[in-house]
Symmetry: C2
Subunit: 267 residues, 2 copies
């Protein structure tokens, strides 16, 4: 992956989408999202719980852990945004909601609608899935507009828009195209994986994504990150945010304590 010539691909996407981008409404001065925030590993982690059978009780536990360990955010399905916002009020931990998750193959405006609902309930970050099949079919305008719709709604609410590419289903060329589309559409982060389809984050995919977006965007590695070693490998490769359900185990391992990986990841 890492000897792929990305410049011709980026130029081609830019040429195809140039006019659409000129009309896009998301132009704003972007903060530098490539740096690692200060405050240790916990402040890089979106503490995540997305399984469909999760109950309010389990979301309460998630938020409790997030407060206790100081995770950057909790990442939940949109139904649980109101509960998580209430539980994390006046803490440094934000609430992130997934939208169009985990398949991404929704009609136009559906993801933006779900994002707006979540943002109005207090979510401060939105993790949206692209329409993967549209990218594979090279309907770049559809992917671009879908991302742009959500990015606009996020920025109206002073929130960040993260774009899940599902890299395990993409070729290296498609990863480059997806990153460039997300950047041109005004999104803030690109993110590797949902954790629900085949495969998760890889060092190769993260490194390739960083080559494309440079310091213009954040990169979130997610999917299959269950150990301190894999978390560190992702950061080394260029990620500056991690999505995982094994957050407590990872941060405990970093601090040399002995919470077992099993117990921390059993919900």
């Amino acid at each position: 992956m890492n000897d792929l010539a990305i410049e011709p691909i980026i130029r081609q996407v830019t040429a195809i989408l140039g006019e659409a981008q000129a009309q896009a409404r998301t132009g704003r001065t972007r903060p530098d999202l490539s740096q690692l925030p200060t405050g240790g590993l916990a402040r890089l982690i979106d503490h995540t719980l997305l399984r469909p059978e999760v109950t309010a009780r389990q979301i309460e536990m998630l938020c409790l852990e997030a407060r206790q360990w100081g995770f950057f955010s909790v990442c939940v399905n949109s139904a649980f945004v109101p509960l998580a916002v209430e539980l994390l009020r006046e803490t440094p931990t934000l609430v992130a909601s997934v939208v169009g998750f985990p398949l991404g193959a929704n009609l136009p405006h559906v993801k933006a609608y779900e994002a707006r609902q979540a943002l109005e309930q207090g979510a401060r970050e939105i993790d949206m899935v692209i329409h993967i099949g549209a990218l594979k079919g090279r309907d770049l305008l559809a992917v671009f507009e879908d991302i742009g719709d959500v990015a606009v709604v996020c920025h109206e609410h002073d929130a960040l828009c993260k774009v899940i590419l599902e890299t395990s289903l993409l070729t290296p060329e498609e990863i480059v195209i997806g990153c460039q589309l997300a950047r041109m559409a005004g999104a803030d982060f690109v993110k590797t994986s949902t954790g629900f389809n085949e495969g998760g984050a890889t060092v190769e995919a993260v490194a390739l994504m960083r080559r494309v977006v440079g310091d213009s965007m954040g990169i979130k590695a997610s999917g299959g990150i269950r150990t301190l070693a894999s978390a560190q490998a992702m950061l080394q490769a260029g990620a500056n945010r991690l999505g995982t359900s094994a957050s407590v185990a990872i941060v405990s391992a970093e601090q040399g304590s002995h919470v077992s990986s099993d117990s921390a990841s059993s919900y």
Copy 2:
């Protein structure tokens, strides 16, 4: 499962939701949805393709197969409803769209919004996923209202509302509760599975669902139905609709031809 005493559970759900149901807007004379339609096995099948990386080209193939074999519907992600409707115009095959799929843990109104978009594009059936975690946490009103929202939108568009319970994640008691909620909320079908979370349709779950809904609703078995034998077992147990991606193999097997299961299920 089949010695479970369902009457006390049904009475309890009815008591809890009675007042909410009295206010529900979905009251209409329901057609008899328990009977098998005429026209052979193909007319019982929702020909299904929901993987996130599916392209427009593959949806074209799905619709071509549906025309050729006379399947009851194609079942697609909402992004592909316009294409499928166009390709199946003036054929007996309907277009069904999934919504809130496959996790179901969306904020209120998100599923109804996606359903409305799909119906306005010509979908004639909606397969929605319940909020499984809310059922498990016994927030019955939330599950009921979520279903009712979608059922109302469907009926406004003269379309059917199918309610996916994800039976593999539920206890037998929860399956009974889910069926009763779907019935009280005015939905038309209960459906076993998304095919994306653990496990698919079982004979036991279908039989239990038929015990609860009697002849008041249709039952769609889906998830893991890949052979003629399993299709027939589901119908025997009480299903009157099948959701599968192996439709061509199943119908070919019924007709004694020799399309291999592998080739028919390879997309």
